[in-house]
């Protein structure tokens, strides 16, 4: 039997990794291109100039036109044209690829097919994979690189993040004790480093009262709105922000600039509720099977929705994992 309260968790025991868009996390897609050796190095600049004019390789601006060759008899290789743009024919020669005389083929060897990255790399891992195929340029987003290494947050920030997630975990346990699913959430104002609302799943009373929906309503209550009463649940609480911030209360996007900490990845309903509420960032402990912030969908990264936000997975992951595995046991015992 797992104990509820262990020693305080060490901030080195977990890492927050970014949940990136599909474009940022997909494998490197390749496209076939004819390349040819440059036999006479002195002809290089002329060949490149003439090829750029004749076959501009539009859409492949991220790929370098020429690559150096170390272990080959010729010094360089140049991209000639996309295989899909080449005239069809069984015998491929430089002359057949460059028929109309726009490019003087002096100094070019016989063409061969190479695979080059079809899209510009968006992350360092994508760049490293892409470069194995052909030299590729990369406009690095330093924050993404650091985040992918799990090094985006300072020790102070990690301590704060851990404290916020710990309050979500505590709420989840309180919810579990009154028969709810063990999910907890906290909404935080990162500017003031204060918790605005904390709550837990209440779905056995109200099927749509997932923890995220509960805290969204609690945030609304903290600003004079809100629809439900969670007075029966002492672990569902809110703090009204100080009077300086009341002008923010005049608009319905009340989660603007706030962060959400939730013990497990939200479902589609909750993920879209966070889009509607204009949440700032979302941190979750563990993934869930039908999760919509990384697992089944990436609602936070869709270009076709009017609000996007950063999502990080893994905050206090051990504690969140325990919470949900205990919850699974309880449900199995109940025969659910």
């Amino acid at each position: 039997m797992k104990r509820w309260k262990g020693p305080p968790c060490d901030i080195d025991s977990w890492v927050a990794f970014p949940v990136l868009s599909d474009e940022q996390s997909q494998d490197v897609e390749l496209v076939e291109v004819f390349a040819a050796p440059i036999l006479d190095k002195k002809e290089t600049s002329r060949i490149v100039r003439e090829l750029n004019a004749f076959h501009p390789l539009s859409g492949l601006q991220h790929v370098k036109r020429v690559r150096p060759c170390r272990e080959k008899p010729h010094p360089l290789e140049v991209l000639v044209c996309l295989v899909s743009d080449a005239p069809r024919g069984k015998v491929v020669s430089v002359d057949s690829l460059l028929p109309s005389g726009g490019v003087n083929c002096n100094g070019l060897g016989e063409p061969f097919v190479v695979k080059v990255p079809a899209r510009p790399p968006l992350t360092r891992p994508q760049f490293e994979l892409a470069s194995q195929h052909w030299p590729t340029s990369f406009h690095e987003d330093k924050q993404v690189t650091v985040a992918l290494r799990g090094e985006l947050f300072s020790r102070h920030q990690k301590e704060r993040m851990q404290a916020y997630m710990a309050s979500a975990v505590t709420a989840a346990r309180a919810g579990m004790e009154v028969g709810m699913e063990a999910v907890g959430a906290a909404v935080v104002d990162p500017k003031t480093e204060s918790i605005i609302a904390v709550g837990h799943d209440c779905r056995h009373d109200r099927p749509l009262h997932h923890a995220v929906m509960v805290v969204i309503d609690l945030v609304a209550r903290s600003q004079g709105g809100g629809f439900y009463s969670f007075d029966g649940y002492p672990a569902c609480r809110f703090t009204s922000p100080n009077s300086l911030q009341t002008e923010a209360g005049s608009q319905p996007y009340i989660c603007t600039g706030y962060d959400l900490y939730v013990t497990r990845e939200p479902c589609v309903m909750c993920a879209m509720a966070l889009v509607h509420s204009r949440i700032g960032r979302v941190f979750y402990g563990v993934a869930s099977a039908n999760g919509a912030l990384g697992t089944k969908f990436k609602i936070h990264a869709r270009k076709d929705l009017n609000h996007r936000f950063e999502v990080y997975r893994g905050v206090l992951s051990g504690e969140c994992e325990n919470l949900h595995s205990v919850d699974d046991h309880i449900r199995k015992d109940r025969g659910e």
Partner: protein, 194 residues
């Protein structure tokens, strides 16, 4: 309710409103949308029908609650749950035979909520190009999400142009001085231009 009536009940899998029912309830939904428009509210009409009785209806309550999830469908679903509670009926077995009639395609959040409550059929007017959860942005209605309730059937396009016209009129009304009032996810500006 007599046993005779209960025995006439079709199996849940076959539950689907008839053409005549769709026509009749969509007239009600459009009337609600028109009333909303006339009183300066978001022109979306939404009602939930169980055994020929309206068990839930809603209008957008985002601005007054400051809760951006209070879409008309969420409000109506709450009423259905309350209705079941008052009559001590099992919410699941009522929801499984309840249809939603709404003038605009439900958003991704509302579509997921409808799945979570096992609503089997959604009849709607125009598409929701910005947030639609029944295929326009994401197809939550039929997605493979075994832990997010059950899939539902969509019947779309009923008086679609009229539904769009009402949204357009609403947008014009909301901007008498060229200044935008409370912008909810259902306002025309968000709806078509963001």
């Amino acid at each position: 309710m007599g046993t005779e009536e209960d025995s006439k009940e079709a199996p849940v899998e076959l539950f689907c409103p008839s053409e005549e029912e769709i026509e009749r309830w969509m007239i009600r939904a459009f009337d609600m949308a028109k009333e909303a428009l006339e009183s300066g509210e978001v022109p979306v009409g939404c009602l939930m029908v169980y055994k020929d009785e309206v068990v839930g209806k809603g209008r957008n309550e985002v601005n007054e609650t400051k809760n951006a999830t209070r879409h008309a469908e969420m409000v109506a679903l709450d009423q259905v749950l309350d209705w079941c509670c008052r009559r001590s009926l099992d919410a699941r077995s009522v929801c499984e035979r309840t249809a939603l009639y709404v003038t605009v395609e439900p958003c991704i959040m509302c579509a997921a909520a409808l799945r979570l409550l096992n609503i089997p059929v959604v009849v709607y007017g125009c598409r929701n190009e910005r947030f639609g959860g029944c295929g326009s942005v994401l197809d939550v209605s039929s997605a493979d999400l075994p832990q997010t309730g059950t899939t539902f059937k969509c019947i779309s396009g009923h008086r679609a142009e009229e539904a769009v016209e009402m949204l357009k009129t609403f947008y014009k009304q909301e901007n008498p001085n060229g200044e935008k009032k409370h912008c909810t996810s259902f306002c025309f500006f968000c709806f078509f231009f963001h």
